[in-house]
Amino acid sequence: MRITSILFTAAIISGLAHAEKLAVEKDELKLGFIKLTDCAPIVIAKEKGFFDDEGLSVEVIAQSNWKVLLDNVITGNIDGAHMLSGQPIAATIGIGTKAEVVTPFTMDMNGNGVTVSNSVWEQMQENDPDLDSDKPTHPISSASLKPIVDDMLAEGKKLQLGMVFPVSTHNYQLRYWLAASEIHPGFYSESDVAGRTDAEVELSVTPPPQMPATLEAGTISGYCVGEPWNQQAIAKGIGVPVTTSYDIWKNNPEKVFGVTRKFADENPLTLLALTKALIRAGKWLDETDSSGKLTNREEACRILSQPNYVGADYDIIKNSMTGTFMFQKTDVRDMPDFNVFFKYDCTYPWYSDGVWFLTQMRRWGQISEAKPASWYAEIAKKVYLPGVYMKAAKMLVEEGELTAAELPKTEDGYKPATKDFIDGNEYDGKKPIEYLNSFKIGIKDEGALSGK
């Protein structure tokens, strides 16, 4: 009796704290995800009861690949999903499937890796003997890959690499990494939707969970993908992770939570409630103790390793989720920021992130015509909904779930300019045209557009 009465009182007290519960338009929701560790905010919000606290009953359903996931969101089979940052933008401007998709919440930063096959790794080690050690110096650039690409080209072959989706962060990161050492990954055009014009290596699409198997089968010689599929490769001896997205661009935006504009318009309070629950999940994931150790990550790994979520072995998920990353069996490094779910105002939907993806889409020709700088800002405003985020975050501050200090401080939704890239190139979200023109490899636009 005592326990239940305590629980009842607790429930009532917490109920009073949440006195202004949102009257959600739709209380039974289906959310989709891909089996990657960065689906964690959705899974945690469900398992830790953050959705329940908002009066939402959420079913979380694994999707087989990004295309199916996006189509399911657009057709309404699922209400919202864990999405690649590029997906809402691309859908809105009509690359691939055309539909308006919006995002009020960035799920995480970093978290991808580039893995190459054992034989490519051996050749890279031959080209750069410094790599042939138990703990080579990082970051590893693609310079040692360049001779391999050239040799293959001389034989009339192209190195095959895998990424997960044409508008995925992985595609842009892999291209960035390759282009930084002057390996041309190829342009997209109206007639070449595979993006292989002028290419020195060929990039193709493979769903994340199938990456290790495809690498093992020899169809591709390397890939860029999220976790646990890099750790899986090294654990099973299929390939070697050479670099991570953190090294390519420090604290890069990764996944977002996407819904259709229709859903957002018809269910504003539901979207607000979802955003609140997800922010709490992000915060829970990044909780640290006084020594800076991530306190909740092990529990998160346990939850993610359930077969209906990511389903990979706990030890493999743990490798990258608890602040370390295994590059070789002998080389386990501390990478406390490998997955960021809340720190550095990560969950806020920054316009500047949207603009970065747009510049990469233009750089590689997915956006086929030159656009003025104002267009970049306009699209970012259409897709990213910082208004919803701030409203949700402020409600959480009132409820005592967040502190006022944890609210992102920004006036216009743009991050300051940064040089945290592997090639040290500077990015300023307000100057997309100048940024495009600063790359050695990539489409360039007339400088006159930057003023418009």
């Binding site: 429930a11 917490s14 006195a19 009066g55 057709t75 969970p209 390793s305 069996k329």
Partner: protein, 549 residues
């Protein structure tokens, strides 16, 4: 005088015996009949012989299969681990079942009333406290084992590492030396003639070959070294598994206790009730203020209470539920297939002209793979249902008692239609054959009796063709069952296929064995479906053909 024939007197026992034998015969379980006859003491020698052949031999064969499987499986190592042995598969099936049991327990906990909840919560709390001790013990054990195996591991890896490092250093110096000497010789070439230059080319070639050979040697050593690194000692593995098991139980119990406590429907309803009472009170007693806002809050609280009262735990799909959905899907497809195939088959049988018209379609579409049909059907069905949740068919099916629990959606319909398209051919062809082979005499009698078309159809054509129709249906169902799993994998429609696909993509140490579990489940269900069709087929036919297995 008529000779007297001695009939055995029909005792109750004998009647019973014949009834059982008849039932066994109809259900096609003929291997059981010697057992019945033996119990009835009919020619024991012969029956024992039959039992030996039809019961003992299959059991021995299966045992031999299990033995071979256990012996051979560990020999093949894959990147996903060793091929699981029967024991591992059995454990994996228990794991699948445990996951189902735990999720069901959570769903039940959500709905329990307070007395039950209190009792269960008490148990869960006790178990959680017990787990603390168990986990501490397991952690202590594993650190001991790890410390012990660390030395073992280092000793195990060291020789291959030293060998690799030594050879690598040796070859590197050798390579540099060779290159240097070649470069020295190259400096002299400027003054030398053609012969010397040709000879020099041969030296370069020789150097390349040597380098290649050294690389090969190194590669072998490297492989041994990397393989040594992946070595996990069985005791470490076992200890880790024990910890995983405990940690998973803790994970479950903490969520379970939450569902039994503050997260239960009852607690949430109480919470909503108090919210409603509070807001109502405010609305009724307020002397001034924004009555519009206050009134709205009351209405919203009422809505919230209503939805809370009928809410359920959003339970993930587990294998047993997926199996039922697959069965529903295959029967939906089967019904559609039968509804199309039987009438067309009858028409084909009755009219050779119609048959001639249909032949190209049958020949053309019969060999098409389900994997080709599915994407096409998915797109077409998707076109009919732009907003699946508001589509009339989905809404209508939501009110059908059993179906509503299994969420009929476009993916389900696409899979069912693919099953139908692939399985209807066997029924169609068999029906046509059955109808076409009706004896002319029967039809002549019908003519004499001046039976109308309908009477002729239902009195003569269908009854005669029935055994063959059922033979066709039996093949159709078997084909449909095979097609379904493939369709579900591709469409990610919830069902057995989705389970296999999820396990494949999970790639955990358990998933390989869990896919084997599915092999047996699919096999056993397929066997039962076949049995059911055999019984139907036997019931409608007089001969015993076509029921051997």
């Amino acid at each position: 005088m008529v000779p007297q024939i001695q009939f055995p007197t029909l005792t109750a026992d004998l009647i019973m015996k014949y009834k059982i034998l008849k039932a066994i015969d109809i259900s096609g379980l003929n291997f059981l009949s010697p057992v019945v006859r033996l119990i009835a003491q009919e020619d024991p020698r012969k029956q024992l012989h039959e039992i030996g052949r039809f019961i003992i031999v299959p059991i021995v064969a299966f045992a031999a299969f299990l033995f071979l499987w256990s012996a051979l499986a560990p020999k093949h190592r894959t990147k996903a681990g060793e091929v699981p042995t029967p024991g591992v598969v059995w454990d994996a099936s228990k794991g699948v079942w445990l996951f189902h049991k735990r999720e069901t327990a959570k769903a039940d906990a959500y709905l329990m009333n307070s007395a039950e909840r209190r009792k269960t919560l008490q148990q869960a709390t006790t178990r959680l406290a017990r787990l603390d001790a168990l986990e501490a013990e397991a952690n202590r054990q594993i650190s001991d084992i790890k410390a012990a195996s660390k030395e073992k591991f280092d000793a195990y890896v060291a020789p291959s590492k030293t060998a690799y490092d030594a050879k690598r250093a040796e070859f590197r110096t050798a390579k540099i030396n060779r290159e240097n000497s070649l470069k020295e010789k190259a400096a002299l070439l400027a003054t030398q003639g053609t012969d010397a230059r040709i000879a020099y080319l041969a030296r370069i070639r020789e150097n390349a070959v040597t380098t290649e050979q050294e690389k090969e040697q190194l590669k072998l050593l490297k492989t041994t070294y990397t393989e040594a690194q992946t070595k996990t000692f069985p005791e470490v593995k076992k200890a880790q598994q024990a910890i995983t098991k405990l940690a998973e139980e803790r994970q479950f119990l903490s969520k379970y206790s939450e569902m039994l406590g503050a997260g239960s429907r009852e607690s949430k309803t109480t919470e909503s009730e108090s919210l409603l009472a509070e807001s109502k009170n405010k609305f009724l007693t307020a002397t001034d203020g924004d009555f519009y806002r206050l009134g709205n809050t009351v209405v919203k609280s009422e809505d919230l209470l209503a939805t809370t009262e009928t809410s359920h735990y959003a339970k993930p799909w587990t294998l047993p539920k997926q199996i039922v959905r697959s069965l529903l899907c295959v029967f939906t497809g089967f019904l559609v297939a039968s509804a199309i195939a039987i009438p067309i088959g009858i028409l084909c049988g009755l009219s050779p002209t119609f048959m001639a018209a249909m032949t190209p379609f049958i020949a053309l579409f019969k060999p098409v793979s389900p994997l080709v049909w599915l994407p096409i059907i998915m797109i077409i069905v998707g076109g009919f249902m732009p907003e699946p949740e508001n589509h009339w068919l989905v809404k209508a099916l939501d009110h059908v008692p059993i179906l509503k629990n299994y969420k009929v959606d476009p993916m389900f319909l696409s899979s069912a239609l693919t099953v139908a398209l692939c399985s209807l051919w066997a029924t169609l062809v068999n029906t046509a054959l059955g109808v076409a082979s009706i004896e002319k005499d029967h039809l002549n009698v019908a003519k004499v009796l001046r039976l109308g078309f309908t009477a002729r159809l239902f009195k003569i054509v269908i009854p005669t063709a029935l055994p063959l129709i059922f033979a066709g249906l039996r093949i159709s169902l078997a084909v449909g069952w095979m097609v379904l799993v493939a369709a579900e994998i591709l469409s990610t429609s919830q069902g057995i296929g989705k389970f296999v696909n999820d396990m494949y993509t999970n790639g955990s140490s358990e998933s390989f064995a869990q896919m084997f579990v599915v092999v047996f489940i699919v096999g056993i269900i397929g066997m039962f479906l076949d049995r059911i069709m055999i019984i139907f087929q036997r019931l409608v036919s007089f001969d015993t053909a076509g029921s051997a297995i």
